[in-house]
């Protein structure tokens, strides 16, 4: 999710760096089901990161759409919502069209992707209302036009502040693929420290476990 965002020009690494302090102390909780009503489900993210509960949320929305023609999931109380883009793209490969929406500060963010597409449309709008519930809404259907129609009945968007087109994402991806990704030394060291959590202390006897 992080690398996808970075490769497609959405500053994934910077977002990760910003998120790391809270991720260090995260309880690794996943989303909890609050209510389930036909094609609408409410989840509680339990103050967790979208890195942990994003997959569940998108998959649930897709399952609802398959069963009812369209699906809508609201995930409350979750963080790092910008990382959701890769999960939407992945779901779009399985014949789903998706729209995600959340409010962050004074901006409202909307991601739309057509069924089967590789890149989404990423837009930021001026928020029409302040929101402090850290929620993320996912709308799913079989084609983007119907999903957008459903979305527009629920959400009223303010003026557009910024859009990142599919072409811009493709260009960013191509450049990153060609040039590689530069990772800040501090972030690299922090990631190294995180990885160290799954490494096992080396001892004389453990070396035998590699063939000595």
């Amino acid at each position: 999710m992080v690398i996808w965002s970075q490769m497609h020009g959405l500053n994934g690494l910077q977002q990760l760096q910003d998120a790391l302090p809270s991720l260090y102390n995260c309880l690794c909780l996943h989303a909890k089901l609050i209510s389930n009503d036909n094609n609408y489900t409410l989840l509680d993210g339990q103050s967790s990161s979208i890195l942990l509960c994003g997959s569940q949320t998108v998959r649930l929305a897709c399952a609802l759409a398959r069963q009812h023609g369209s699906g809508q999931v609201k995930l409350d109380n979750c963080h790092n919502r910008r990382f959701i883009v890769q999960r939407l793209v992945s779901a779009a490969q399985s014949d789903s069209a998706l729209v995600a929406y959340w409010v962050e500060g004074d901006g409202a963010f909307k991601i739309s992707i057509e069924s089967g597409a590789k890149q989404p449309m990423y837009s930021e709008y001026a928020s029409t209302s302040l929101s402090a519930d850290q929620s993320l809404m996912i709308f799913v259907g079989s084609d983007l036009a119907s999903v957008e129609e459903k979305f527009s009945t629920v959400i009223k968007l303010g003026p557009v502040v910024e859009t990142i087109s599919s072409d811009a994402m493709i260009n960013s991806y191509s450049n990153m693929l060609e040039q590689g990704i530069e990772i800040d030394d501090n972030l690299w060291n922090e990631l190294d420290n995180l990885v160290a959590r799954v490494l096992v202390e080396s001892t004389e006897s453990s070396r035998a476990g590699a063939g000595d």
């Binding site: 996943h30 989303a31 909890k32 089901l33 389930n36 989840l43 942990l52 509960c53 997959s55 569940q56 998959r59 649930l60 897709c62 399952a63 609802l64 398959r66 069963q67 992945s90 490969q93 399985s94 693929l177 060609e178 040039q179 590689g180 990885v195 160290a196 959590r197 799954v198 490494l199 096992v200 202390e201 080396s202 001892t203 006897s205 453990s206 070396r207 476990g209 590699a210 063939g211 000595d212």
Partner: protein, 569 residues
């Protein structure tokens, strides 16, 4: 094609041999047929052979640079393990030409290997160590004006051995996606890594010639070309390769499916009977494998016994082919019958050698499959699948996993983990070694069993529910379900073995992958690592563009021409 229940048994995978579809074979075919031009643009070595070499590679679709640094290494520090931090040679394969600035950058980073950083102009980073048994011997012989004894070379088979070849985005290198989409010359799995090893072989031969000439300019001779071809490059492979096979099931499925397709085509080609020419070729191939196995030197008792048994059974086969050829043809005997006979009567390794030999007979039916070895590796979860369907899917496709009794202590007697020492993969003993709580998720069978049990419990309460709701409750199983649903659509991806059993033999995993690379002469050093030989018998760069018979599989000692003057290089 053979069923997965037969093919995906660990001991069978560990009996595979190279075939026409192995990556070294396909790379060599491509290089020779397309007449790649490879020349050294820098050969800046001192009299001891230490310094820098750069080769410019002009392939069909692009130009590349192979950059190599030769360093003094105290023999005390020569270590083939991942944990080593010094090597005799270090090298990089780069796109385009390398200028002075980039060469300096590489000089500062390539010798450090994992501790250095390169950039996306680099495809592969690798290193090699000298063979203590052959390098000095060969140089001494050449310096004294003699060709080395082929029997001595046969004991080892190489001058240098590589201990790792990193690619695909590691350490700052180009991502596989870039290699695949931008550089068609290397757009097959591990083609760039295999080429790096091929170039190491080329350098090793030049290196021996060079040092001998520096040491004794008046008496030194160059290695005879036939002897050169008989040199491969050594390889040491340990547990690092094992997680790859488990973590890339779609790719493994693709490789094995192509190999099985090739075998099925070969068997079908003989369905209506065989002719004299094909029987002769097959008997000749058997004789070659018999000699090849007889020339392998390994201290591993089990491998020696296996090699001896395979030789005996192939001798039986060869004698039968030679003696009964007319009757075989007259009775319209088919390859399918031979394969069935082998399965019923001969050692599993003999069966797989015969399969490789059959594939070898039909290049016109097989070689096109070499373009099918790559695959998109995306796994997709189907959230709307009912749990009833998922349960049935597991019972159908993962019956082998459900048949394992994980309540027995030995069924969970091992665990895989990464050491803090250069992240080296290691195999620990349960309740003996530390780190079980940090084990790598390689026990696919156990993971499926646990997932299945949880599904059954959940279904007792919610019998109509779907996967999406189950993973809300049990998020830790989303990866398992994603794999199960994905792999259910393919045939060969999952290895049907409990990989955490006390007696698991990881060496089978290594051999399986190495067979797809195309190595020969397996020399197990324990159940955890194996030495082998790459490119032994392959053409030299000077052979490119010349008539090529692609018959270097199962390399055997060269018979030197009696008219050749060993003093002439």
């Amino acid at each position: 094609m053979r069923p997965a229940s037969q093919v995906m048994q660990l001991n069978r995978l560990g009996s595979f041999h190279q075939s026409r579809l192995s990556f070294m074979r396909t790379l060599v075919r491509r290089m020779v047929q397309e007449n790649w031009q490879i020349n050294s643009t820098v050969f800046d070595l001192d009299t001891e052979g230490y310094g820098t070499a750069v080769y410019e590679v002009k392939a069909k679709y692009g130009t590349y640079s192979y950059v190599l640094f030769s360093h003094y290494l105290d023999p005390e520090n020569r270590n083939d393990r991942v944990i080593a931090d010094q090597w005799d040679l270090t090298m990089a394969l780069c796109e385009g030409s390398v200028d002075a600035e980039q060469l300096e950058f590489l000089r500062n980073n390539v010798p450090k290997q994992e501790a250095g950083r390169v950039d996306s102009r680099v495809f592969v980073l690798s290193r090699g160590n000298r063979s203590g048994r052959t390098f000095d011997y060969v140089v001494d012989e050449l310096a004294q004006g003699r060709q080395p004894d082929v029997d001595v070379i046969a004991e080892v088979g190489y001058l240098y051995r590589t201990t790792a070849a990193y690619g695909s985005g590691k350490l700052g290198m180009a991502d596989w996606e870039k290699v695949r989409t931008k550089h068609r010359d290397f757009a097959r799995p591990f083609a760039a890594e295999m080429f790096t090893c091929f170039m190491l072989r080329h350098f090793s031969l030049q290196h021996a010639d060079y040092i001998a000439a520096q040491r004794a300019p008046k008496t030194a001779v160059k290695l005879d070309d036939d002897i050169k071809r008989y040199f491969g490059i050594g390889n040491s492979t340990g547990l690092g390769m094992a997680p790859f096979l488990i973590n890339h099931p779609l790719l493994i499925n693709q490789w094995i499916e192509q190999r099985e397709t090739a075998l099925a085509r070969a068997i079908m080609a003989g369905a209506d009977g065989l002719d004299t020419a094909i029987l002769d070729r097959f008997a000749t191939a058997a004789a070659r494998v018999i000699q090849h196995l007889g020339e392998i030197s390994t201290g591993d008792t089990q491998q020696n016994v296996s090699n001896g048994l395979v030789r005996e059974e192939l001798q039986e086969l060869e004698q039968w082919l030679r003696a009964e050829g007319i009757n075989i043809i007259a009775s319209r005997y088919s390859w399918a019958e031979l394969v069935q006979y082998a399965e019923c009567n001969w050692h599993i390794e003999t069966q797989e050698v015969i399969n490789s030999m059959l594939i070898e007979l039909y290049p016109e039916l097989v070689d096109e499959l070499e373009e099918m070895m790559a695959v998109e590796e995306d796994q997709h979860l189907v959230p709307q699948m009912s749990l009833g369907d998922l349960k049935a899917l597991i019972e159908d496709k993962y019956d082998w996993a459900l048949a394992i009794d994980f309540s027995r202590a030995e069924s969970q007697g091992s665990f895989w983990y990464r050491s803090e020492e250069k992240m080296e993969p290691r195999l620990g003993q349960t309740c003996v070694d530390m780190g079980m709580e940090k084990q790598m998720p390689l026990a696919i069978g156990r993971m499926v069993r646990e997932c299945y049990d949880e599904i059954c419990m959940y279904m007792a309460e919610f019998p109509q529910q779907d996967v999406a709701h189950f993973i809300l409750q049990q998020p830790n199983f989303s990866g398992a379900i994603c794999r199960i649903q994905t792999m259910a659509r393919s045939q060969y991806g999952d290895i049907r073995e409990n990989l955490v059993h006390s007696d698991v033999l990881p060496i089978h995993l290594l051999r399986c992958k190495l067979s797809f690379f195309g190595v020969s002469k397996f020399d197990p050093r324990s159940r955890l690592w194996v030495r082998n030989t790459m490119f032994q018998g392959a053409p030299l760069i000077s052979d490119f563009g010349k008539p090529f018979f692609d018959d270097w599989q199962f390399p055997i000692k060269p018979v030197l021409s009696s008219t050749s003057d060993p003093s002439v290089g």
